[in-house]
Amino acid sequence: MENGFFHHALTIREDICTGCSLCMRVCPTGALRIRDGKARLIEDRCVDCGECFRSCPVNAIIIEQDDFSRIFDYKYRVALVPAVLHGQFRHEVSMSEISAVLRSLGFTWVYEVEHGAEILKPAIDDLMNVRTLPRPLISSYCPAVVRLIQVRFPALIRNLATVKAPLEMAAFYCRRVLRDRGAHNAEIGVFYVTPCAAKIAAVKSPVGEESTPISGVINMDFIYNRINRTLRNKGELPLGDDHAYSVDPDTLVWSLTNGEASCVNGRTLAIDGINNVTEFLEQLENDEITGVDYLELRACDEGCAGGVLLSSNRFLVAERLRNKARNLKPGARAADNDDFPDIEAYHDYLMNKVKINDEIKPRSMYRLSGDRDEAMRMMKRSRRLMCWLPGTDCGLCGTPSCQALAEDIVRRRGDISQCVFIRESNMEKDLMDRQRSNEIMRKIWGDNNFTKNCNKKGAENESN
């Protein structure tokens, strides 16, 4: 039940990767290794949080997206836009201008993802009223957090709130509205402008769900660049569009830290940043934390404003979005026009779709073997190895820590001679010659790191 891999949106480009190991050092699940001078991903550990992408100094990590021209495979082309896209632009850039640019790119309908949160509020309230569910309930909004729980905190899976994300609700709504007007499902393309890799992975292989109403993803940085270019050549911009922003103020900030938690009744807590989330879950799993009803957990600092595909400063994005929300009058939606029937009109239809039906399964990354006795032998061996490894976590072995190396060795993914301290000791005792030691070092770090290169970042003639 724990086999099979996640779909990953993150790919390491070997031709660009310099094997600097920065990504390996920041990965919160220890999913990266250095071999042959390149970063390698252990796929079943990766939760798509994007910390590696953020840390890479040479942009060797790329986030897959669908080819933009795919939108033209469909007669009806919906862009599902999260509010953080708007938050990236100056205050004077209106929401309708941004939507106009998206239309000029070829979309026939631009719809805000946060509308979907209006359906989620009552759905979460319903869950909170079920007394038999464990507390705290944990928001399943952030796919990186859901995956983190699957691999590191399987005992907490039962705490996950089994409701879909605003994105799915918005997508179901758009499809339904278009179908009600005579469109066939196959003619409708719903494309999500994504702020992060985790959302892509979740769309491509939804956790606990078989099918998705979303046809494809477009990375937000791509759209940001297109909008920016158009805004700078304003003459081409078709202004005066009928589109007005119509999301409720409190749902507009749903993706920001405390945006969701503040809409939920009871004692709620909002935690952002994957390391903060991990620390908190560790305590929660130990039963050290009691009396909390609902947890909003986000892998990125400042919530989706800190998404890895955003181009602007996360604090400015959050502040602008909060300002926009403040300036919206509560309940003052745009007049319902042909394009925008109120999502509330589809309340019953969407409430039928809101539950995550399939079981969210554990994918423990810690388990050494399916056989208990074998796992015990491996654990003993790994602990014996730790007696010899230095405990400095220098990373020169190409793994993030001594403990990770010890576990790699017992999983037959590594060798004790990868440790530079062990090699030095062995050479001192004439158990290994210098040439062999050097070969091992090159096997890990690649030959390039042993030759002079004045073009590297920070060097004499830096050039990329």
Partner: protein, 141 residues
């Protein structure tokens, strides 16, 4: 395998270390998460009891593929009436300790409910010793 963790009385900041370490090992062994939870509850409650009531203590853990045995021995005031201490809600924790969210009672009965085998011995004026055994593949206690 055997492990030993020292516990300092009054040091709530570092309470929970042993539980975290043990939890990781049980995950490596692929122990069912509901059993891990019972182990962690027992160990954490017992550890906090030492921190809250004793001067210092020691946790000895013996782990094999089938069982985890945890012995917590402390130098402290001891428990005069064990039967009373085993009742739900009974606590002698000081007001400061309660203010930190600890000392709501339930500790010992909770350990007893989660353990497969639980032995408590105490000598007033000297200290308390808890022996907790949990079967790692077994059914709910």
């Amino acid at each position: 395998m055997s492990f030993e963790y020292k516990v300092t009385g009054g040091d709530f900041t570092h309470a929970g270390y042993a539980s975290s370490q043990v939890k990781k090992m049980l995950k490596q062994l692929g122990v069912d998460s509901t059993i891990i939870k019972r182990v962690v509850v027992c160990l954490y409650e017992a550890e906090v009891n030492i921190v809250a009531h004793a001067y210092d203590g020691v946790i000895n853990i013996v782990l094999d593929a089938d069982n985890i045995f945890m012995k917590l021995t402390d130098n402290g005031p001891g428990i005069a009436d064990i039967e009373m201490a085993m009742q739900k809600g009974y606590s002698t924790a000081s007001p400061e300790v309660r203010e930190m969210g600890f000392g709501a009672g339930m500790g010992l009965p909770n350990i007893s409910a989660n353990a497969d085998r639980f032995i408590i011995t105490s000598e007033p004026g000297r200290g308390t010793s808890l022996e907790i055994t949990i079967n790692l593949s077994g059914t709910v206690a």
